[in-house]
C-alpha cells in the first residue's frame, strides 16, 4: 500500500497529529504465540469462503450429460470448457461484454475528469461555497439509487431524441443514459477522495506556479494532476469495478436485452438456460472473470482505492 503515502498520513493527521505512520505493520506483537488455533479457524473460514465459488467452477467445467448421468455430486465424467463456449455463443456474451466496455470506459474517464476538476477547485482554491459543495457531492453518492429511479426514468423518457439517434425516440434504452447517471452518481465519491488527496499536497507547489504566472488550468493540469497519479490509478481501478458491477441503472434504463452489460444480463441467465445449471455456472464465471482479472492485476490499486476512500471520517 506504499503507493498512497501522502493522503493517509494527512488524513490520519486529523485525528492523531503526528509523524507519518505508513508501513508500521506488525512488529513486536508480544511474545511469539501459538497460532495453531488461529490457523484452524482461518482455514475453516477460508473453506467456507471458497466453497460457493468452487462449486460454481466445478459445475461449470462438467458437461451436462455427465452430470445427468452421474449426478451433480459426483466426480465422474469429463471436465472441459465446453459450457463456457456454449454459454458464450448461445447466451450472446460477446455482445454483453462489449456493452460493458461501452458503458464502463466512458463513465470512468468522465468520472475522473470531472471529479479531479471539482476536487482541485474545492481543495486548492479558497472560495465561499467550496465546503458546502463538497458536502453536497459527498452526500449524493450515499443515497440509495432507488430514491432517484422514478424521476430519472421519466426525465429520460420525456427527453425526446430523433429516431436516427435513439430507436426509442428518447434517452431510454441508450448507453448514454446509463453512462450519465453512473457518472453523476460516482463523481461525488471520487471528488471527496481526490480533494482529500490534493489538500495534502503542499500549497507551495501552486504558489510557485502562480508567481510564474501560471493560470488555474495549468496549475491543475500540469502540476496537481500529475502528482495525483497514484490516487487517480486507485480511483480508476475502483470505479472500473464499481461501474462494471453496477446492476441497477442498466436494469432500469435499458429494455433491449442485447444492450445489457454483463452484470445486468446475469439476471436473465436462468431464463435463458432454464435448469441447465452447468451453463448457468459457466455464464456466471464468464461474468466474474473480468473482475477477477482486474483484481489479480491491479489488486494494490483497488485496495488502495478502498482504503483511500475510508481513511477520513
Amino acid at each position: 500500500m506504499s503507493i498512497i503515502k501522502p493522503a493517509p498520513a494527512a488524513a490520519r493527521g486529523n485525528d492523531v497529529a503526528g509523524a507519518p505512520r505508513t508501513g508500521t505493520g506488525g512488529k513486536s506483537r508480544g511474545p511469539a504465540r501459538n497460532h495453531l488455533g488461529i490457523h484452524i479457524f482461518l482455514i475453516v473460514m477460508a473453506a467456507m469462503w471458497l466453497v460457493p465459488l468452487g462449486w460454481t467452477v466445478f459445475t461449470s467445467l462438467r458437461p451436462k450429460a455427465d452430470t445427468d448421468k452421474y449426478g451433480y455430486f459426483s466426480l465422474g465424467g469429463s471436465f472441459n470448457f465446453d459450457n463456457f463456449v456454449e454459454a458464450w455463443t448461445r447466451g450472446g456474451f460477446a455482445q454483453y461484454a462489449w456493452n460493458s466496455v461501452l458503458i464502463t470506459v466512458p463513465s470512468v474517464i468522465l468520472i475522473l475528469f470531472f471529479a479531479s476538476m471539482m476536487a482541485f477547485a474545492v481543495s486548492r482554491v479558497s472560495w465561499k461555497f467550496n465546503v458546502t459543495l463538497l458536502i453536497m457531492f459527498t452526500a449524493g453518492n450515499l443515497l440509495p439509487p432507488q430514491v432517484l429511479a422514478a424521476p430519472l426514468f421519466q426525465m429520460f423518457k420525456q427527453f425526446e431524441l430523433p429516431y436516427s439517434v435513439s430507436d426509442s425516440g428518447n434517452l431510454l434504452n441508450t448507453y448514454i443514459s446509463v453512462i450519465a447517471v453512473d457518472t453523476a452518481f460516482q463523481i461525488g465519491f471520487v471528488t471527496f477522495v481526490l480533494s482529500n488527496y490534493m489538500k495534502a499536497l503542499s500549497p507551495e507547489l501552486t504558489e510557485a506556479a502562480l508567481v510564474d504566472g501560471a493560470g488555474i488550468w495549468r496549475q491543475y493540469w500540469e502540476i496537481i494532476l500529475p502528482l495525483c497519479r497514484p490516487a487517480l490509478a486507485a480511483m480508476g481501478t475502483l470505479e472500473v469495478i464499481f461501474i462494471y458491477n453496477d446492476f441497477f441503472w442498466p436494469l432500469l434504463f435499458i429494455q433491449s436485452g442485447d444492450r445489457l452489460p454483463l452484470t445486468t444480463a446475469v439476471n436473465n441467465l436462468q431464463g435463458q438456460f432454464l435448469s441447465d445449471y452447468n451453463l448457468i455456472a459457466a455464464g456466471a464465471m464468464i461474468t466474474a472473470i473480468p473482475a477477477l482479472i482486474i483484481y489479480l492485476l491491479l489488486q494494490r490499486h483497488f485496495v488502495a482505492g478502498l482504503t483511500l476512500g475510508s481513511s477520513k471520517g
Binding site: M1, P8, A11, R12, D15, G18, R21, T24, G26, K27, G30, H39, L42, A46, W55, T56, Y72, F73, M117, M118, R124, V125, S126, W127, K128, F129, V131, L133, T138, A139, G140, L142, L143, P144, P145, Q146, V147, A150, P151, Q154, M155, T183, T191, P203, T206, E207, G215, I241, N245, F247, F248, V266, I280, A284, A291, I294, L306, S311, K312, G313
Partner: protein, 317 residues
C-alpha cells in the same frame, strides 16, 4: 448552464479567508476557468442526483400512471396512507431491512473485524487468506446471488447434498422457501460484506501507532483489553466509515434479492418495492415515489452522521 456558472464564479472571491494564502488574486480568465471546473460537475450532480431526489418527493404526493405529464393528479398523503395501511408487503419489507441491518451489524461486520485482527498478527499465509476473503468483494451482488443460487438449489445445490437431504423430500429450496430465504440471502450478503470490512480494518490496524500498543502492554493490559481500550478507539475514523457502510448497505440491499425473485415471497425489501411499483404493468409512480421517500428519509440518518464526522472539523477550522 450559463446561469449556473455565473453564480459559481460570483462565489469565487480571491483571498476570502484563505489561511495559507493559497490564491491571492484570480484573473478574469481564471474565474471563468474555475467557473467551468466547478460549474460542469455541479450541474451534472444537480440535474441527475439532487433534482430527481426532490422530484421523487414531489411525485410521492401525486397519483400518476407514468404516461403523460398532464395525467399527474395531486393526491395529498394518500400514497403514504395506502402504504402504511393497505399495502401488504410494506411492513414485511421494513422488518427485512431492519433484519438486514442487525445481521450485518452483529454478524458480518464483527466477523470482518475478527478476520482483520487475526490476519494482522504475523501469521503465515496471511496474504493468501486475505485474497480469499477479499475475492467476493470484487463480484457484483447480482452475480453473488447467482453463485449462491447454484449452491442453495433444491435439486442440484451443494448445500442440500452436504446436509444429506439432497434428492430427498426434505431437501430445502433455500432461496425459494419464504421461511428461510431471507437468512440464506443474508449469509450470501455476509460473504461479501465481511471481506469488505476486513480490508478496511486491516488498513486501519496498520495505521494505529504501535507505541500505543506497547504502552498498554507495559501497563499490564492483556491482548483483549489492549484491543478494546486502546486499539479500537484509536481507529475511530475507520469505525465511522464501517458504521456508515453497514447501515447504507442494508438500506441499499437490492441486487441480490432482485436476482433471486425480484424481492417477493419472503425477500421483500423497501428498495425492491420501489422498483416493483415503477416498472411492469400498472405503474403506480406515486406509490413507488412515496416508498422512495421513506427510504430517503431513513438514509438521511447515516448520511448526516457521516457528513458531520467527515466535515465537522473542516467547518470549525
Amino acid at each position: 448552464m450559463s446561469t449556473s456558472s455565473d453564480t459559481t464564479t460570483a462565489g469565487v472571491r480571491g483571498a476570502k479567508q484563505a489561511p495559507a494564502g493559497r490564491v491571492r488574486r484570480l484573473s478574469g480568465r481564471d474565474k471563468w476557468v474555475l467557473g467551468f471546473m466547478v460549474g460542469v460537475p455541479t450541474l451534472i450532480q444537480l440535474v441527475l442526483v439532487w433534482i430527481p431526489t426532490l422530484l421523487s418527493a414531489a411525485l410521492s404526493f401525486t397519483r400518476w400512471n407514468g404516461l403523460s405529464l398532464t395525467d399527474i393528479k395531486s393526491a395529498g398523503v394518500a400514497n403514504y396512507q395506502f402504504i402504511v395501511n393497505d399495502y401488504p408487503p410494506f411492513w414485511p419489507a421494513v422488518q427485512h431491512n431492519v433484519l438486514w441491518l442487525v445481521f450485518l451489524a452483529l454478524i458480518a461486520t464483527p466477523l470482518g473485524l475478527l478476520l482483520a485482527i487475526l490476519l494482522d498478527q504475523n501469521i503465515r499465509g496471511t496474504k493468501v487468506y486475505q485474497s480469499i476473503f477479499f475475492t467476493p468483494v470484487m463480484l457484483s451482488l447480482a452475480l453473488i446471488g447467482v453463485i449462491w443460487q447454484l449452491f442453495y438449489n433444491r435439486d442440484s445445490g451443494l448445500l442440500n447434498f452436504l446436509l444429506g437431504t439432497g434428492g430427498t423430500p426434505q431437501a430445502v429450496d433455500w432461496f425459494g422457501d419464504s421461511s428461510v430465504n431471507i437468512w440464506a440471502a443474508l449469509v450470501a450478503a455476509t460473504w461479501r460484506h465481511a471481506g469488505y470490512v476486513m480490508i478496511l480494518y486491516l488498513a486501519g490496524l496498520k495505521g494505529v501507532d504501535p507505541t500505543l500498543r506497547e504502552a498498554a502492554q507495559i501497563d499490564g493490559a492483556n491482548a483483549v483489553q489492549t484491543f478494546f481500550r486502546v486499539i479500537f478507539p484509536a481507529m475511530r475514523p475507520v469505525n465511522v466509515i464501517i458504521i456508515v457502510i453497514t447501515v447504507i448497505e442494508s438500506l441499499r440491499a437490492f441486487d441480490i434479492v432482485y436476482v433471486i425473485n425480484r424481492g417477493t415471497n419472503g425477500l421483500e425489501l423497501i428498495s425492491a418495492l420501489v422498483i416493483q411499483n415503477l416498472v411492469g404493468e400498472g405503474q403506480v409512480i406515486g406509490v413507488g415515489s412515496a416508498l422512495a421517500v421513506i427510504l430517503l428519509v431513513i438514509s438521511l440518518v447515516p448520511i448526516t452522521f457521516y457528513l458531520s464526522r467527515a466535515f465537522g472539523k473542516d467547518k470549525e477550522a
